[in-house]
């Protein structure tokens, strides 16, 4: 059963059309990576899924009881956040505001925040100042906040931007773990090689052509071959170029 179903989607901004006639489903439990060059409409599509902009035509349906505001979103960090005085707990708690909004956080909301902080392993940073954390720690905090907002679907916007290789690997491992626990992942990424390693499905956007399929299908597609500078490691396929490119 699909969680989100997009059909004949046409989207754009400032009068420019960047996505036309895109149809695909996101199924529950998928790990989808949206890849493609700059300007291919990755971010526009993501904003569409989040309801930040609405499609010009076509539709995005939310199924299986998923509501748009219950999508967990990990945005790119803004310049405002660099010197914003706030504690880790305050940031994570703000993710629970889509459920209930009172002048004071309820016990449930606090428990939810603590639970999700434990999931991403930052319980010990609870009282630390957000601006003094490392890049990887900050992403974990924002991930915990996103988890507070959702139980089903996370949308991640280039989550490893600015992280060192070790922190990136840690974050990928954590996202993989969350996916195994049943959370559907949609990740916008530049890094095709690493995406292919972790994702179950790939949506490749380039100009007006799209590829959507499983990662295995992608690696054997024309567009996938062009972008993957390595061969498929599986035994089943006899790749025509096997070995040539290495």
């Amino acid at each position: 059963m699909p969680l989100i179903s997009c059909s004949n989607l046409k989207m754009g901004y400032e009068g420019k059309i960047v996505i036309s006639d895109l149809t695909f489903d996101i199924n529950s439990g998928d790990y989808l990576c949206i890849v493609g060059e700059n300007g291919s409409g990755k971010t526009t599509l993501m904003k569409g899924l989040l309801g930040l902009i609405s499609p010009i035509s076509g539709k995005i349906e939310y199924l299986e009881g998923l509501k748009q505001r219950y999508i967990g979103y990990l945005p790119q960090q803004t310049s405002i956040q660099k010197d914003f005085p706030c504690s880790v707990l305050e940031v994570v708690l703000s993710g629970t505001l889509n459920k209930k909004f009172l002048p004071i956080y309820s016990k449930e909301q606090k428990n939810l925040a603590l639970e999700n902080m434990e999931k991403v392993n930052i319980l010990d940073l609870k009282k630390k100042s957000f601006q003094e954390l490392s890049g990887g720690q900050k992403q974990r905090v924002l991930l915990a906040r996103a988890l507070c907002a959702t139980g089903k679907l996370l949308i991640l916007d280039e989550p490893i931007t600015g992280l060192d290789p070790i922190a990136s690997q840690d974050l990928y491992d954590l996202i993989g773990k969350l996916n195994k626990q049943g959370i559907t992942i949609v990740m916008v990424s530049h890094d095709i090689t690493t995406s292919v390693k972790h994702a179950s499905h790939i949506l490749h956007m380039s100009g007006d052509s799209y590829f959507y399929g499983t990662t295995h299908q992608y690696m054997h597609s024309e567009i996938g071959e062009k972008f993957m500078l390595r061969d498929c490691p599986c035994d089943k396929c006899s790749h025509s170029n096997k070995g040539d490119r290495l």
Binding site: T78, I80, E90, L93, S94, L97, P103, K127, S129
Partner: protein
């Protein structure tokens, strides 16, 4: 102290000033973090223009200044959100035009003696009616702020995340703009047009030197702002110097002290 409080105008100034300092500090934290510090400055200049016109037309100043400054707040916020126009430049254009208009109106109608008190504030400027209105408005500002505190934090920290969670950031930006406009109009008479923005910016900057959580910054800024106002008011009374500038200087001294303490802490 008791002698100081034997004058009615001093009691009025004390009540209004304390409440305004508190409101300004709370809003100031948000404005500084949102990079909107200059909007406060721009609005106070618009307020000056409105006051001058109100005085010339012989209308109670607050009744003219409040709607005009509210309108200006909406415009400035729109301009800042709209990336096509440079927000900084827009604020400069609007505020200098407003001051120029105010000065011309004041000089034509022969209000030159009052100009000084508009620009630099005066404890004598608040009438009984004004004081009542100030108290009511300040309470509204503080209540709205407490009610929406969590949402205001979320929207200030991350607009796109809040938007994805179904909050409409524009609503909260408008609330902030309205509250700012009200605070500036109320505080302008005591602090003066040129100095009211200090009340908004100083306490939050000072608090941010030492406090690391949002809540502690808010509380510290509020307390500091009230303390600095009371110090400034008392000093101005005994030293016979103008109140607005004295409050600003006491805020500045506090900022320097906090900055030094944070440096010493960092060295350890």
């Amino acid at each position: 102290m008791i002698e100081m409080l034997s004058y009615n105008f001093m009691i009025r100034a004390l009540i209004v000033g304390t409440l305004v300092s508190l409101c300004a500090a709370l809003l100031g934290v948000i404005l500084v973090l949102k990079r909107y510090s200059m909007i406060g400055d721009g609005l106070s200049h618009v307020g000056f223009g409105a006051l001058a016109i109100a005085a010339a037309a012989n209308i109670a100043p607050l009744y003219v200044a409040i709607p005009v400054v509210l309108l200006a707040a909406f415009c400035l916020l729109r301009l800042s959100e709209n990336s096509k126009i440079n927000g900084d430049a827009a604020i400069a254009v609007i505020s200098s035009t407003a001051v120029a208009t105010g000065v011309i109106v004041a000089s034509v109608t022969g209000l030159n003696t009052d100009l000084n008190s508009y620009l630099f504030g005066s404890v004598l400027a608040t009438s009984n009616g004004d004081a009542v209105m100030c108290v009511v408005l300040s309470i509204v500002v503080i209540l709205l702020f407490l009610l929406f505190y969590n949402k205001i934090f979320a929207v200030t920290f991350d607009e796109s995340f809040s938007k994805a969670c179904g909050t409409r950031p524009s609503v909260y930006n408008i609330i902030i703009a309205v509250l700012t406009a009200l605070t500036i109009v109320i505080g302008m008479r005591i602090m003066g047009t040129l100095l009211i923005s200090a009340l908004i910016i100083f306490p939050s900057l000072t608090a941010m030197r030492l406090c690391k959580s949002f809540k502690s910054v808010m509380i510290t800024a509020g307390i500091l702002s009230v303390i600095c106002f009371l110090l400034g008011l008392t000093a101005s009374y005994y030293l016979d110097i103008p109140t607005g500038p004295t409050v600003v200087v006491s805020n500045c001294i506090m900022l320097v002290i906090f900055w030094l303490v944070s440096k010493i802490k960092a060295c350890r």
